[in-house]
Symmetry: C2
Subunit: 476 residues, 2 copies
């Protein structure tokens, strides 16, 4: 996908020199082969181009880069682990890439205050491990955790599988350090849970996808490590049954219910068929499945999980269920879930939607969307799965079985988006629950968002980035 | 306390008529005696004046008021339950008061999505009761809950006693409806837990104390009702011991630890001496006390509470403890805590600070602040108490025993503030943890806040309220 490939004048060599001086020779990359890794992304959906990748090693260097870029009106694209799914981290028009990966220090861990101050380039998994080392939990968890970074997680307000109990990335940040477009450094780092001194600034930058400033560090919340984790794989008849199970589980376990994933039969089927080392946890097939997990502060998560399942079986909500008997079996349940995206590839083209609706509306959404996409493209195969507890579904639709023209199918991407988004909006939902706007959904945004909200977003952009050099063309 | 009592020209009668037409005769108050209740507040610390109090009955009416006020550059002061503690809700300079109390509808309760949409004027206690009726918990809880409103709670980002587990008011709002200075209505109401479509706007208005717009409604999160609640009153030697107990309690109970209040001997002593129907829960006196509460999703909160106390006693962290044996005894523990502010009055003048520091820094803060205030005013009696789990202390200092000139003592308010705030800031803390800035701390703000943060706050104010009509003179 090429976005606005307008001709940009090449960066003057003397400017490249000035940028190079800020970060040092080794960290100013101009070699096309070395740049390649920064302008492409895993799925090869977006391919950008850039004359220069800068790898600053400190907040002061990021500030100097922004100052120089402002003086010469040079557009910048901030980048973390380059795992974003909406093209937000890609220089589509020859912008300078600012890779934050060298800002990888964990500045402080404070177990009494339950906080950890990380620089933007710290890899999520490293942050998780650091928390575990001091007997704490940093709960953010998602597929790309081995390579995505804290700065990227916050810039895109990442969600993931633990949001049900711990919230999205936004809710895990107590404060931020941000470099503004003109190079000013906003020090809003804070270990405070309560601070009512003036306007809430840091939330402006979380989820702004690098268009309002560059996040260079964050104070993150740590949580007590759960003492016991129990995981169940459940077969049931419908999303409505799953919703009833969710209500029982939350009533019984409250915040100890840390995951509640709804999986359609086809999603499970694809994962078993194409996933590596994936097996069906249940003996028979079921129209729908739930993968649920309890993380208890006490030593016993099994009793409440059994209570939930017994009550649901008595009420004929659940048809079959198995609780993982070992860590290996628990890992196998999650493997089935984690392979779900990749397992859709062998089934041909897939038109994907990352949507959310109010939790109560999920069953109606699935019913209406399934009917609408099949009406639009007969034989199209909806493969819904996702975080029911958050009302967030990855509503992916695979091409009809035996389809012999994937390109033609994928060409109807926008048409299908329109059909699905109409239902989402009617139900008070969001067309991007987790992944953000980037360039992928930029052009849809004004149609789906409150008019005043769009006006305020434009005003904020003009206020914080009057020259339009921060990740231009993304979000707005 | 009179703030900037500059002469304001009286509101032209024809303008009063135009405002009156918007809300209807009954709801435009011009009678001085009727206005009195809106321009004074409970403690009589602030006394304002206003020619007109408007009581709109709908968002459309609030919008019309703002539009008219913009056209004629009339300053507005939004007001909820009029319980704020920093003079934010008071018309200090003859502004028009916009009372939101008639916006008191609960628009929707959705138990499957666990959300409740309330208008701004809904009294906090009514919201709590409505949640309880549908077997849910709305956890925000504070002293003024019988009269404060949801709009005021959000505008001031209220904290309270349940913030430890459930967060402050900000964390309980999924979305807002806001009327902007020019009358535009921002519809950012949302039942979604995940929505990454553009900049986070609603957090700008939460904690902005009505200076950026008027919150007219909010979508609030509901939580599962705890099945069991257990409360302990604990005697121990020092804030450091209390911090160790907190760490043990969080490790054992995680999010089930819903309150952890640190109380100094003098605070408890005053409450027992002057509080109504307050008795000492423990046999002997202790230098420090902790009031802690566990709210469990299971039926048993007692076992984990006993485990915590046993471990802490074995480690010689806790010297004595009693677990409430009945609801009445639990209420008595909380009564002792709730009477704490009022019980300081009979002891003469009190210079108050609502501060927070990183949780780990609380013991050092108390030691340093105690030494500093006694050095400043020999005989001054620090009465610290507050939410240790949030690092939030009400660091109140009573006049010396036998002081015969309270006015002279209180005249040193700013001097003592300076001494205490210096320690707070050195420790990375906040000079207003819960109560906000209002007019009370407005002049201190530029000295204690990051310079870039203040610049951004001014830019935001100019962007959202270019005429300066929204609660002028507050915060900035």
């Amino acid at each position: 996908m090429n976005i606005n490939q307008s001709a940009t004048s090449p960066l003057a060599p003397e400017l490249i020199e000035q940028f190079r001086k800020i970060v040092g020779d080794r960290h100013a990359i101009t070699d096309a082969a070395d740049i390649e890794a920064y302008v492409t992304e895993e799925r090869n959906l977006f391919h950008g181009r850039s004359p220069l990748v800068l790898r600053p090693g400190s907040t002061a260097e990021v500030s100097a880069i922004c100052k120089l870029a402002s003086e010469h009106k040079i557009a910048l694209v901030p980048q973390g682990g380059n795992t974003g799914l909406v093209g937000g981290q890609t220089p589509h028009n020859g912008e300078v890439v600012v890779s934050l990966r060298r800002l990888d220090k964990i500045r402080e861990v404070d177990t009494a205050s339950n906080t950890m101050t990380c620089e933007a380039g710290v890899v999520l998994q490293i942050a998780q491990q650091k928390a575990a080392e001091v007997d704490r939990l940093f709960p953010l968890s998602l597929g790309a955790e081995g390579s995505c970074t804290i700065g990227g997680n916050l810039s895109t307000n990442a969600g993931g599988t633990a949001a049900l109990a711990y919230g999205v990335a936004r809710e895990m940040a107590l404060g931020l350090e941000v470099v503004l477009a003109d190079g000013r450094v906003l020090n809003a780092l804070s270990k405070l849970k309560k601070d009512n001194t003036g306007y809430n600034l840091h939330n402006l930058f979380i989820g702004a996808e690098g268009t309002l400033g560059i996040i260079t560090a964050a104070t993150l919340k740590l949580f007590p490590k759960p003492h016991a984790v129990e995981t169940a794989f459940v077969g049931l008849k419908s999303p409505a049954a799953a919703l009833k199970l969710l209500t029982i589980a939350q009533g019984e376990a409250a915040n100890a219910l840390t995951s509640f994933e709804l999986l359609s039969e086809l999603a499970v089927d694809f994962s078993i068929r194409h996933g590596i080392d994936v097996r069906d946890p249940l003996e028979a097939k079921h129209p729908w499945y739930v993968l649920m997990e309890l993380s208890a502060s006490s030593d016993d998560a099994r009793t409440p999980l059994e209570t939930i399942l017994e009550r649901a079986m008595e009420a004929e909500i659940v048809d079959d269920a198995v609780i993982a008997a070992s860590l290996a079996q628990r890992a196998a349940f999650w493997k089935l879930r984690d392979e779900m995206s990749a397992a859709q590839k062998p089934e041909g083209g897939s038109i994907k939607h990352d949507i959310s609706v109010p939790v109560a509306a999920v069953p109606a959404f699935i019913a209406e969307a399934d009917a609408a996409v099949v009406k639009l493209i007969p034989g199209a195969r909806p493969v819904p799965f996702g975080h029911l507890g958050d009302g967030n579904l990855h509503y992916n639709v695979s091409e009809p079985a035996g389809c012999n023209n994937t390109a033609d199918y994928l060409a109807r991407w926008h048409e299908m988006n329109a059909v699905v988004f109409e239902i989402v909006l009617r139900m008070g939902g969001s067309i991007s629950a987790e992944h953000g706007i980037g360039v992928l959904k930029r052009d849809e945004l004004p149609d789906v968002k409150d008019k005043t909200a769009i006006e305020l977003m434009r005003q904020l952009k003009a206020m914080l980035d009057p020259l339009g050099i921060m990740n231009p063309g993304k979000v707005l």
